[in-house]
């Protein structure tokens, strides 16, 4: 038996396109769901208990659905209600919908963990509204949830592999296409998994660097 990594090398462009699609899909959905989750934060931290509970129930239910099942609901289920999406928009919609539930929970938990004294002190100094959010709350929130968002991005990248089942040409789909054409399953999937490893390792390294930067800043201003 000989392993044929030369074929993989020849098909490198296909892997590169797959990896590129995985990266941009996950990056765009992460940004979109961050914005949606920030909006969800309004009912999630509302003083009206019923509204808060309802929003929390929706977020909790969203976090119970497996990614593949949600993909099926969006891609095969929604057309029954008249919403027909092609595989790209279905993939993006699924990623955003799925990730928003997790991001909302992450932001809510980060929000709840902020020391209330800081906000009170800022109010005493006359901060309020947007300025209070921008100068006092947001910087603390970003430092608190930054690493968690990094982990969630890794989770999202891993879940996005399910999209190969609706034939979206991301990395796992590319690996499957190459392996079925040349019949080199081991080499093909091994290379795909190594690429995922490198990608997620890169994100982890960035998160660590960010954490170091944050603690340096904290020391500088403390």
């Amino acid at each position: 038996m000989t392993l044929r990594f030369d074929v993989i090398w020849k098909e490198a462009p296909q892997f590169a396109v797959g990896l590129g699609n995985t990266i941009w899909l996950c990056a765009v959905s992460m940004i979109l769901s961050l914005m949606l989750a920030a909006l969800l934060l309004v009912p999630l931290t509302s003083r009206r208990r019923n509204l808060r509970r309802m929003a929390q129930a929706v977020v909790d239910a969203g976090r119970c659905i497996p990614f593949l099942l949600l993909t099926y609901i969006v891609y095969f289920g929604l057309p029954a209600t008249g919403v027909v999406l092609n595989k790209w928009s279905a993939a993006l919609a699924t990623l955003v919908l799925y990730n928003t539930a997790y991001m909302a929970e992450i932001l809510r938990a980060g929000w709840a963990s902020l020391p209330p004294g800081q906000t009170e002190a800022a109010r005493a100094f006359g901060y309020h509204g947007l300025l209070l959010t921008r100068r006092i709350i947001l910087p603390q929130l970003v430092i608190a949830v930054g690493p968690v968002i990094g982990n969630q991005l890794i989770q999202l990248i891993k879940d996005s592999a399910f999209l190969s089942i609706i034939t979206l040409p991301e990395l796992t789909f590319a690996a499957n296409a190459v392996q079925s054409y040349y019949f080199i399953p081991f080499e093909s999937f091994l290379v795909a998994t190594l690429l995922y490893w490198a990608l997620c390792g890169g994100i982890e390294a960035l998160v660590r660097r960010g954490e170091r930067w944050a603690s340096r800043m904290r020391r500088a201003y403390a």
Binding site: C64, L68, W197
Partner: protein, 216 residues
Amino acid sequence: MLKLATLGDLLHGAGITISVSALAISAGIPLGLALAAGRTGRNPLIRGICATYSSFVRAVPVVTFVMLIYFGLPALGIGFDPFPAAVLALTLNTAAFNGEIWRAAIVDFPHGQLEAARAFGMTRRVAFWRIVFPQIWRASLPALVNEMTLLIKVSPAVAIIGVVDLTRKARQISAVTYEPLPTFLSAAVIYGLVLLMLVAGARWLEKRLAVRPGFA
């Protein structure tokens, strides 16, 4: 509306989801402990192997990992049927995450207790099983249960090699009945109930442990 027979089919799929997950969990938790032991042990080679394994497996999507095992390994002469391949892939995956949980608990373990146990003449092995383990499994329980729920949620990955779990069953039914939404939503409710029962069971156990610390 969803027919009763359809619901029965879905529940059959749920049975497959639960059995694949339960097998992977029950093999993955002790395997994770072994990994953690390797990573906190004295042998640098074993430490390195365990750390590399853990880092690799945790970064790879379960779908891709399932395909690597089911389609890839036969090229090296190691072949499996779909069901054992599914259980193996999920086990190897969850073991890596459980290993991190066990390791965190071992690293956090107060060193003084271990030294005291050694001072009383316990061997490393006896000290581990009589002193360390009874405490770390209690400390790790919430995190381990959390990992169990995550495993159940990625278990639809086994559908790609033809294991008819709850998600794949729902897809098959919807392709026949042309009623995708009720079928998928029922499947979602079943997943929700399974996860809810798991979490409720864990809460009950945690409460019991808090009341009777000696219970093991």
